[in-house]
């Protein structure tokens, strides 16, 4: 049982508070990812869980036990660092065995554990080599293997893929996800890459300025962001955020942007929207919610024409990222690669408002969720 509980956890350096009273419950065997921009306190939080940074206030429990003052080595955790932190003078085998050696584990056990971890990670052929001969991906596997041999209840991974090239990062992402399923351990993973977070996590913790913004499943974060920061952080290309005014049209509400009316779907809570009638809000619309033609699978009442000026087309192979300007705002639309457009000319698109987000302009919190 390796659930982790953070209650009003904070970290201060003199007058500077870098983590503000975080509350977080991580279930046993869960893969949770802390994500956020640099300096948001995600690594500090991880290091406090690891016992590498002292906890300034609050409670940290692992498996139900209060571990605020428990040394790192006694917390039954293993950590994988961004730079792998392999000992350059030791072979891969010795790097992996080091933790067990320190604990004076029997040699047979060490051998069995190292061999098993090496087989799992497909690095058996590297066991007698030194890190200097290994590629980034191989080093990363060794670092994972070193964490695995101790058979810990909790794995803490601090941006383990940041030093890898894009292709290898993609491969290792899926391997770590598979590894989590195989090991059935609790994984706490820190990254600033929202693609990593979206593809691997059971739940994502979005952090900003030392505070948790939202904790939810990847899809929920994408579909129901609680504020502008989460909406903007999750998704690539990022969500288009436009100033709009709410107006009533009969029983329905519309968001007016650049003199273009975008009907708000009827399934949204009208009472919440009504409070903003006549007021300016921030309208969020994802790039994939623009279409060159009306899609057949989306109800007509959710579709509205949207006119803009085409600035730049970025062909991505499977799609085109079309940079457009409307109302003095730059927007991005994800369109079919077959869609032909003349740069500098007006382009008529269809906006699917069924998935739009509305945010309070002052508090930046979602009006809908």
């Amino acid at each position: 049982m390796a659930s982790i509980s953070l209650k009003r956890l904070n970290k201060t350096y003199g007058p500077l508070t870098v983590v503000h009273d975080i509350d977080l419950e991580i279930a046993d065997k869960e893969f949770i990812i802390l994500v956020g921009p640099s300096g948001c306190g995600k690594s500090t939080t991880l290091r406090m869980i690891a016992g590498l940074d002292e906890i300034s206030g609050g409670e940290l429990r692992i498996g139900g036990d209060l571990v605020n003052d428990v040394p790192s080595k006694d917390r039954d955790i293993a950590m994988v660092f961004q730079n792998y932190a392999l000992y350059p003078h030791m072979t891969v085998y010795k790097n992996m065995a080091f933790g067990l050696e320190l604990r004076r584990a029997p040699r047979d056990l060490i051998d069995a554990q190292v061999t098993a971890a090496a087989d799992t990670l497909d690095i058996s052929h590297l066991l007698n080599r030194k890190p200097k001969a290994l590629s980034g991906g191989q080093r990363q596997r060794v670092a994972l293997g070193r964490a695995m041999v101790r058979n810990p209840a909790v794995f803490l991974l601090d941006e383990p893929l940041s030093n890898l090239d894009a292709k290898l990062r993609g491969t290792m992402r899926s391997e770590i996800a598979k590894l989590h399923k195989r090991l059935s351990a609790t994984f706490v993973y820190v990254t600033h890459d929202q693609v990593e977070a979206m593809t691997m996590a059971d739940r994502i913790v979005v952090m900003k300025d030392g505070r948790i913004q939202q904790v939810d499943t990847p899809q929920q974060l994408y579909d129901r962001p609680v504020n502008i920061f989460v909406a903007g952080f999750i998704g690539a290309p990022p969500i288009n955020l436009l100033p709009a005014t709410i107006a009533r049209r009969g029983e329905q509400f519309v968001a007016i942007f650049d003199a273009q009316e975008l009907p708000l779907p009827s399934h949204y809570d009208k009472a919440r929207i009504a409070a903003y009638e006549g007021r300016e809000v921030v309208l969020g619309i994802r790039p994939e919610n623009f279409h060159e033609l009306p899609p057949a699978d989306i109800p007509q009442q959710h579709l509205a024409p949207f006119t803009a000026i085409a600035d730049l087309a970025e062909p991505m192979g499977s799609e085109v990222h079309l940079n457009i300007t409307a109302g003095g705002r730059n927007l991005i639309a994800r369109l079919s690669p077959r869609f032909k457009v003349t740069i500098g000319s007006e382009v008529r698109l269809i906006a699917d408002t069924g998935q739009v987000q509305l945010f309070d302009k002052d508090t930046e919190r979602s009006i809908l969720h």
Binding site: A85, H125, R129
Partner: protein
């Protein structure tokens, strides 16, 4: 200090899993390049362990044990493995070392004697050739015996028989390895005093590694024969046991076949 940082962070070329395996001299050079520092430490350990003189055979066996691990690309905890092997093989190696070194000394004495006689009478060239061949054969046999000793626990007689068979089957790699070891010492002598640190740093361990590398394949083949013989004997015994069971109306009788001193370690890989 950048080189120090690079040691930790700079990525290497990587080692492909399906890369073609090196063989022969390429593998020999590759292992030396990779493990040269381990060999320096091994050399120092050997010198330390040999200081009481009478412990030289034990130290040689311990060095051979570590060298076998290097040849087989197994992980080595140098100090711990060396000491463990030294303790384990001290008596066996001392006994075998006494017998082998006596035989070699006798062979050298006979060769030198016949060589001096052959200068006077040509008829002594025949015993000279025989004694020289026998001495070389004993040297090769001693190399195989030492490596077999650290690869598998076998009774002395069986081990010597296997070593003799291996020496007959594959004498050239062992002779080459002995020649390599001799060349190391020759270089040391020729380049003295530039090479003054060679014995303290590499000569013993590199020489032993060369011997181990040279005889390893033959040793593996000999041991695999023992294993196959043992397996066939066991399967034969199994058939006897089954027949016996049938004769006794199905009552179970345990028949245990055991080769004395034969451990159940898996066979080492051949380089």
């Amino acid at each position: 200090m950048r080189w120090l940082r690079d040691m930790w962070t700079k990525e290497g070329p990587g080692i492909p899993k399906d890369a073609a395996k090196k063989h022969g001299l390429a593998l020999f050079a590759d292992i030396i390049c990779r493990e040269w520092w381990e060999m320096v430490k091994l050399n120092l350990l050997f010198i330390l362990a040999s200081l009481p003189i009478v412990t030289i055979p034990g130290a040689l066996a311990a060095m051979a044990s570590v060298s076998v691990a290097l040849v087989e690309d197994r992980n080595v905890y140098l100090g711990r493995d060396f000491c463990a092997a030294f303790r384990k093989y001290l008596w066996q190696a001392t006994m075998a070392g006494f017998i082998m070194s006596s035989a070699i000394a006798l062979g050298i004495y006979a060769t030198v004697t016949y060589a001096s006689l052959a200068t006077g009478e040509l008829v002594f060239a025949v015993p000279l050739a025989i004694s020289l061949a026998v001495t070389v054969f004993i040297c090769v046999l001693a190399c195989h015996d030492l490596v077999l000793m650290v690869m598998r626990d076998l009774p002395f007689g069986q081990r010597v028989r296997l070593a003799a068979l291996a020496s007959l089957a594959h004498p050239l790699p062992a002779i080459g390895a002995i020649g390599f070891g001799a060349a190391l010492w020759l270089v040391h002598i020729l380049l003295y005093p530039i090479s003054v640190f060679m014995p303290a740093t590499l000569n013993f361990s590199l020489g032993m590694f060369a011997v181990t590398f040279g005889v390893h394949r033959a040793a593996v083949e000999s041991l695999s024969k023992v294993t196959s013989m043992r397996t066939s004997r066991e399967s034969g015994a199994g058939a006897v046991a089954r027949r016996s069971m049938n004769a006794n109306g199905g009552s179970l009788r345990c028949i245990r076949i055991q080769s004395p001193g034969y451990s159940s370690e898996s066979l080492p890989r051949s380089p």
